[in-house]
Symmetry: C2
Subunit: 451 residues, 2 copies
Amino acid sequence: MTRRGFVGEHGRMPMQFDPPSGTRDFLAADVEARERAFATIRSVFTSYGFEPLQTPAFERLDVLLGKYGEEGDKLIFKILRRGEHEASGEADLALRYDLTVPLARVAAAYGSQLPAPYKRYAIGPVWRADRPGRGRYREFIQCDLDTLGSTSAMADAEVICAVHDALAGLGVTGFRFLLNSRHVLAGLLEAFGVPAELGPDVLITLDKLDKLAPAEITAELAGRGLDEAKAAELVAAMTAPDAAERIRAALKPSEEGLAGLDEVDAAMSLVAGQVPADRVEFTPRLVRGLSYYTGPIWEVSAQGVPGSIAGGGRYDHLIEQAGGPDVAATGGSLGIERILLLSAGDAAPDRRLDVAVSVMGPGYAPSSFALAAAARSAGLRSSVYLGSSGKLGRQLKWASGTGARWALIYGAAEEEAGTVTVRDMETGQQSAVLVPDLAGYLRRAAAERNN
Amino acid sequence: MTRRGFVGEHGRMPMQFDPPSGTRDFLAADVEARERAFATIRSVFTSYGFEPLQTPAFERLDVLLGKYGEEGDKLIFKILRRGEHEASGEADLALRYDLTVPLARVAAAYGSQLPAPYKRYAIGPVWRADRPGRGRYREFIQCDLDTLGSTSAMADAEVICAVHDALAGLGVTGFRFLLNSRHVLAGLLEAFGVPAELGPDVLITLDKLDKLAPAEITAELAGRGLDEAKAAELVAAMTAPDAAERIRAALKPSEEGLAGLDEVDAAMSLVAGQVPADRVEFTPRLVRGLSYYTGPIWEVSAQGVPGSIAGGGRYDHLIEQAGGPDVAATGGSLGIERILLLSAGDAAPDRRLDVAVSVMGPGYAPSSFALAAAARSAGLRSSVYLGSSGKLGRQLKWASGTGARWALIYGAAEEEAGTVTVRDMETGQQSAVLVPDLAGYLRRAAAERNN
C-alpha cells in the first residue's frame, strides 16, 4: 500500500498521475502510522506544558524573503498574484519554509495575549523547492518546540527532556544527545588564539569533524589562514578520546569558555533525572552550522543513521531577526520524517473493518444495513458489502480483504430463525446469534480477542 | 485568546503581523477545539470502514485547471516556477482547491492497489482566492467522505448515516437531512412538460425556492421562457405544505421520476434505523446547484444557520471528468468551518498545566525540575517556573495563570523536612508531602478531582 511518488526514486519514471515531484500521497496505512507518531509527540510535549500553534500554509512573501539567506530564498515556493495582477508574473505570498518565522510573526502579532513564557509546539508541513531524493522531500513535516521569554537553563533542559521522552515514546532506540555550548566554542577560539576575524570560518570547518579525517580538517583550517601548528593542536585536542577533559582544561584561561562549561554542566545536571547518563554527552566538537545559536546547543544521533534525528539550542536574538520582538528563546526540532523512515515497514496489516456484513440480495439490504449499525454500536468498525454479487463466496472474499475478524451472514434461513450467522474469519467457525443479542455477542467476542 | 486575523473583519485594519488576508492563526484553545472535532469525525468515519487519505497541498497546475469552471480557475492559488524559470512569471503548480480532484488523481494512480470499493475520508486544508468575509476564508478545512466503485443505494445511505453520526458526535442539535434525487427533478421537468432545453435553467431557478417568494420564482421561470401557467402550477406544487405528496402524485406518469422516488424511498428505509424519522425528509425542491450529481442528493440544514452544514450525493461520472477512471461514486462533505463557528465560544478555559512547580532560587533548580518530572510520571502536565523572580507571590501568580490545579513549593524548610508543599490552587490549602510520595499523592488527588 505504500508507494512514494517522487521522481527518480528507485529510478522510476514519473507517471501522469503521480503527485508533484518531491511530494507524496499517503494511503491509509501510512496516514495511520504517521498520525500515531504525531499523537505520541503531541502527548509528550503537552505533558511539559507546551501548547499547540497552527499558522497558515502561506505567509506574505516579504515576511519570508531574506530570512534564509540567498540559497534559502531560491528554495521558497512563491505564489502568483491573482486576478488582474496575475499577468504581472509577480508573487505576493509564499509557502512557509519553516515554522520559526511564523512563530516570530505570531510573537509580534499577539504579544501580551500569549502566556509568558510562551512554550509552544508546532507540527505541520513546510515546503522547500529542494532537489528531491531519498528521504528529502519538497513537502515534509516539521516538528518544533520552543520556549520564548525565558533565559533560564531549565528552559533549555525542558526542551531536551521533552525531545528525549518523545523519541523514547516513538520507540527509537540507541540514540544519544551530543551537548555543547556556543560559549564553549567561543572560549576554544580564544584559548587557542584564533584571530576573531577567522572565528566563523574556523567553526564552519570544525563542524566537519565527524565527516573528515583530522588531517583534512587541519589542512582546511590552515587554508583558511590559521597557523598550522595551532590548527593541529586544536584538532588534536578535539579528536582525542578524552576530548571533553582536554577541552575543559584548555578552557580555564577563557572566561567565556568557563561560562559555556557552566551552561553545559547545568543542562547535564538538570536532565540527569530523566535522561539516562549514557544518553547524553558533552561533545566539544559539536558546532551546529547555524550561526544564530547563542548558548547551549545539542543534537541527537542514532545508531545506523547518518546525521542527526533531532537538534536545537538557545537562540536569543533570532526571533527579533525573523521579524518578532527581541526575546530570549530556546527550542528544538525533531527530524520526524527521518524518524518515520526508521520505523517504516512496521505498519500493521491493513485492517479496515472488524465486522464485514454480507448482503444476500436486494431484499436483505435494510436488515444487513441494520446489522452493521448494531456492530458499530458495540464499538466495532463495520460495513455492508457494497458490490453487486449475490454470491456468498464472493462476499466472503471481500470480507477477508477488509481484514475483518468476523463476517455476518443473514439470508432466508437466518431470517426464518431470527438469528444472524457470525463467522469467525480466522477459524471459519460459525455461530447462530439471536439478532437482538448481536451487539452484546460481538462486544464480548471482541473483549475476549483483546485479552 | 482567539483572534481572527483577516482583513476587514469587525472593520479592523490589517496589521503588519497579521496572517495573510483570509487566513488565520490558531492559538492553543482554538487548535484544541478544532482537533477535538476532527478526532470525533475521524472516529465516526472509521467506524463505517472509511479510511484516511492525505495528498499534497499542491498539485500540478494542469491537474487542477479546467475542473472548476472559469470562475473557479480564477480562484486557484498558482505557484511560480522556480530557479531560472521564475523570471518567466509562469506557474506550474497550484494549491489544491478541493479534495475531490486529488481523489480522482489518486484513483487513477493507484487503481487496483486500492480496496474495492474505495471508501475514503479526507480532512485537510484547501485554498481559494475568494473575497474573505465572515465565515469565508482563503484557507479552510474540507472534510469529505466518498465511496468509489459502488452503485449500491447502501453506499449512499452509509454516507448519510456517517454524516449524521458525526454531527451528533459534534454536539450539533436541531439539524435535518433534506433528501431528493436528480431523477425526481428530471421527472418533475418531464411531468410538468418543461422543454428539455429549458431544464437546466429551470433547476437553477428552483434552487432558489428557499430564498425567494413563490411569486418571484414563478416570474423568474416565466422570464426563462417557461409558460407562466405551468410555472405557477409547478411552484404551487413544490411550495405546498403537502409538497412531498403532491410531487409523488405528479410524478406517476414519469418513469424517471418514479425511479427517483424509488431511490429516495430506498435511502429513507436504509437510514431509518439510525437517523431518527424527524431528522430526514423527502424535499422535492432540493436541487443542489452542482450539475455533476446523478442520483440521490441531500443537504443538512440546522436551526438558526443560513444555508447548509453538510451536503452530498451520487456523482457517477465526476471522477472521470476530474481526471480519474470512470467509476461510480457517492459522497458527502461536512461544512466543518461553519460547524466550528456554531460551537465557537464553548472552548474550555485555558489550562496549560495541572501542576506548576515553583523554583525558590537557582540552587533549587535541579530539585524543582525533578519534582515536575515526578508529576508528569503521574500522568499530569507539569512544568517549572522559568522566570527570574525568586518571590513566591510572583511565582504563584504565574502558577495561577497556567490554570494549574496544584502548585508545588520546595524551599529551605521543605528541603530540611524532606517534603514538598502541595498547594491546592482553588482552596489555597497546603499539604506537606514526602518527596518520594509525590507522584502517588498527585495521582490520587487527580483521580479524586476527576470523580
